[in-house]
């Protein structure tokens, strides 16, 4: 069994007070192992992004536990959380992931340099990370000269550099067409297969289908929906693919 990288335990997150009170998460438990890709689906407002921000140490739960590897995020102070975000957890959003005044390779090198790597070492590692997401040759482009899909893959490369072990992606395919979205999913899948724990929030079932498990959120509660998938063999026996 692979090590558990992310563990949410009966997590509640309540925003506001009194009549403006919103329960975004209402007792969600979830664990994601190294090497596993888990997709989170659910209607708008069901708490998907809230879950990711808690997992990424950007926010703290009202109650319940959040652990990333050995770190207890609820007990961690701001500095420890900042270190965690720099080293252990990578985050990819729907858009606006990149700094427009830095080239692709510089963008990817940022977390490494923030973490104390020499500019040279950071650049070398960023270079390799871009190659790993299929962007060799585009290192020196500025974000506005990259397509949406290329920008997202750059963002994933940045979210994976260094000793990162948990990758959180919030609708990374939101603005992409099917083929570009598929490439982004291919990269996420590869990162998971290479040992990262990956959590993907998506509205699109066809992307969720790349995951080992799909978790469905509704009204702040989670239920396991599907997977791990049975072998594909069962599919061709389905009568509906024949006339």
């Amino acid at each position: 069994m692979s090590a558990t990288m992310l563990q949410l335990n009966a997590v509640r997150r309540v925003f506001g007070t009194g009549r403006g009170e919103t329960t975004a998460l209402d007792g969600v438990s979830l664990s994601v192992a190294a090497g596993e890709l888990v997709a989170i689906m659910g209607p708008s407002g069901s708490g998907k992004s809230t879950l990711l921000t808690l997992a990424g140490g950007l926010d703290k739960p009202t109650s319940g536990g959040v652990r990333v590897g050995d770190a207890d995020l609820v007990r961690s102070d701001a500095e420890a959380l900042a270190t965690l975000r720099r080293r252990t957890v990578g985050y990819v959003f729907q858009d606006l992931n990149l700094l427009p005044t830095l080239t692709a390779v510089e963008n990817v090198a940022v977390p490494l340099e923030l973490d104390g790597a020499s500019a040279r070492a950071a650049r070398r590692e960023a270079h390799d990370a871009l190659a790993a997401v299929g962007l060799a040759g585009l290192e020196d482009r500025f974000p506005d000269a990259l397509s949406g899909g290329e920008q997202q893959r750059t963002a994933i490369a940045r979210a994976c550099v260094g000793p990162r072990r948990l990758l959180l992606a919030d609708e990374p395919t939101g603005a992409l067409d099917s083929l570009a979205g598929e490439q982004v999913l291919g990269v996420l899948r590869e990162r998971a297969d290479a040992g990262l724990a990956v959590v993907l929030v998506t509205h699109e079932a066809r992307y969720a289908a790349w995951a080992d498990r799909v978790v469905f959120l509704r009204d702040g509660r989670a239920q396991d929906q599907a997977g791990p998938p049975a072998g594909p063999e069962t599919l061709l026996a389905d009568s509906d693919v024949t006339p």
Binding site: R206, A208, A209, V214, F216, Q225, A226, T234, V241, T242
Partner: protein, 216 residues
């Protein structure tokens, strides 16, 4: 009809015999649509009778070895088929849509449970399709990949529809949706396609509205 036209299309680049057409059809459709060889021969014979194909010169008298070629009339039929968009009307009845609507109309079960069960199954199906598509080589297995994409989009559309149904149900409250479904059913029975069934009934999927006049 689709098979006849597909076989005519496969004859566009030269004469072929029945078995060859079967093999080419199955390869073209990525193995997703197995053809019965008997069906191929019957279709060819019917096409010959209708003057759409004719035995190619110098092909043997043995029916199995006989190669067929397109006639001018066959080419016309083929061109007409290729030029015309595929007609989707009337929409095919979908068992899932009907199931959900009758559940609502008669409060036969908790619709949320029906939706949930289907979504789980469809997501699992999507996962399996996705595994298959991922294993395909975009160059060598292009036909199969396109077939898989087609099935994937259909499954995804179903999940999206289920999500939307669930949200509409939650928003409207079951009573209101059940009433709307009953109105839609009543309108269908009257031979009406649902336009008069009122705003809420428009929430029911158009392609699932029961039509008057039995099965297609």
């Amino acid at each position: 009809m689709a098979i006849r036209n597909a076989l005519l299309a496969l004859l566009a680049d030269g004469p072929k015999h029945g078995y060859q057409l079967k093999v080419e059809f199955e390869a073209a459709t990525g193995g997703s649509w197995p053809l019965n060889i008997g069906q191929v021969y019957t279709t060819l014979q019917r096409c010959a009778r209708d003057g759409l194909v004719e035995p190619a010169e110098a092909s043997g008298s043995d029916a199995r070895q006989r190669r067929y070629q397109l006639t001018d009339a066959g080419r016309e039929v083929l061109d007409a088929w290729l030029a015309a968009p595929v007609d989707r009307d009337p929409p095919q009845r979908d068992e899932l849509a009907v199931k959900l609507l009758v559940v609502l109309a008669a409060s036969a079960a908790d619709p949320a449970v029906v939706i949930q069960a289907q979504r789980t199954a469809t997501l699992e199906r999507l996962q399996r399709l996705n595994q298959l598509a991922r294993g395909a080589d975009p160059a060598d297995d292009l036909a199969w990949l396109l077939v898989a994409d087609h099935l994937i989009f259909q499954a995804e559309a179903e999940v999206r529809w289920l999500d939307l149904c669930e949200q509409r149900l939650a928003r409207a409250g079951h009573g209101a949706v059940a009433a709307a479904a009953r109105r839609a059913v009543a309108a269908g029975r009257a031979g009406d396609r649902g336009e008069d069934a009122g705003g809420a009934a428009a929430d029911a999927p158009r392609d699932a509205q029961p039509e008057a006049g039995g099965s297609r």
